[in-house]
């Protein structure tokens, strides 16, 4: 077991024994990553804070079910994904945009795309990327966010989503193809023949 993981498990045990400070330390360890995740679903800072807070409160109330089979982060991340999606549905802003077979593999079209041009501002790139992500079915957006922004490994993604690594691979492949299609629809200037 990695040292960070062992520390997490110690903090979990201390929290279960009534240590409020230990739980606070757990929150401090992962709050940045959960805030970053929530921000991919809503830009409203109040909503983001509510979603992250609910994630940690749910984690606390179910802490005794954490078995240590996966890392604490993976366990927490799974709660976060479910909390965020439920929260968005409750607010009437279901992020699920389309019903598709996520495992259906399709070969991307021949059109290639360029990256953002060198003179583009960071904020402009982020704005375009988030606008395109918002158009993707949730099932594709989730894997892109986890991989490209959160840099989760395929194994972590498989644990969070409770799917096989092969499914992660094919879903990511399709998600990237979709992202490319949507981006080129909005910005054909980034296409390459």
């Amino acid at each position: 077991m990695e040292p960070a993981q062992a520390e997490d498990e110690n903090l979990v045990q201390e929290t279960l024994a009534g240590g409020q400070t230990s739980f606070q330390l757990l929150v401090e360890r992962y709050q940045d990553r959960i805030f970053a995740l929530a921000r991919h679903y809503t830009r409203n800072p109040v909503e983001v804070e509510d979603l992250v807070q609910d994630t940690f409160l749910k984690a606390f109330s179910h802490l005794d079910t954490f078995q240590g089979q996966s890392s604490f982060f993976t366990w927490l991340y799974r709660i976060a994904v479910n909390t965020i999606l439920d929260g968005m549905k409750r607010r009437g802003r279901s992020p699920v945009r389309a019903v598709e077979d996520p495992e259906a593999l399709a070969t991307p079209g021949p059109t290639r795309m360029s990256g953002p041009s060198a003179d583009m501002e960071r904020e402009e790139i982020a704005r375009i990327t988030h606008a395109v992500l918002a158009e993707l079915p949730e099932i594709f957006r989730a894997v892109l966010v986890m991989r490209e922004f959160e840099e989760l490994s395929y194994q972590q993604m498989a644990d969070v989503l409770q799917i096989s690594i092969g499914t992660v691979e094919s879903r990511l492949f399709r998600a990237r193809a979709k992202f490319k299609d949507k981006l080129l629809q909005r910005h054909p200037e980034f296409g390459q023949e």
Binding site: F23, L25, R39, L57, F60, G115, R122, A126, E148, K180
Partner: protein, 179 residues
Amino acid sequence: MECNQARPLIPSYLDGELSEARAAPLRRHLLDCQPCRAGAQGEKNLKRWFAAGVPVEVPKGFAARVARRAFAGDTGEAVVEIVPAVGAALGARPLPVRGEDRLLRFVLQATAAAALVVIALSVALRSLSLPSGTSLQAADSRNEISVDRALERLDQLNRQEARGDRTHPETTPVKGRRP
């Protein structure tokens, strides 16, 4: 390795997620195949769109606040706020107001305010429809007579009735109105 086998592996290869057993033949293929190399470059370009992460700002004191709430019994799932009086009787403390609670509270307050406005309007309308001042107005005829004149007429009728004078057209008793 053929192109149709190589293409789906390229993203995983760039993610560093391919085992050496799968990566080695792909590398050989990429050395020989210009279109697949161009495809790999396209995947790298795609990744550049995700490089511009937006910095995250965590509100000050967030972790301490969440830990306090967790130990106060907030599960992050309950929306119902405990009413202080009832909560005190049960030995429970009222939960702090969360985002959803704030919305619920706002809806309840707006409903209460709307109810008060409706009640006030109905009272005002009723007072407007009641007769007032020193005149009486018949709703059907809209003929106005003074209160003094009406009382005088009533006295006159009573006197005539007491005398047994039933010939005057105005003295015809109205059923059920006789004292």
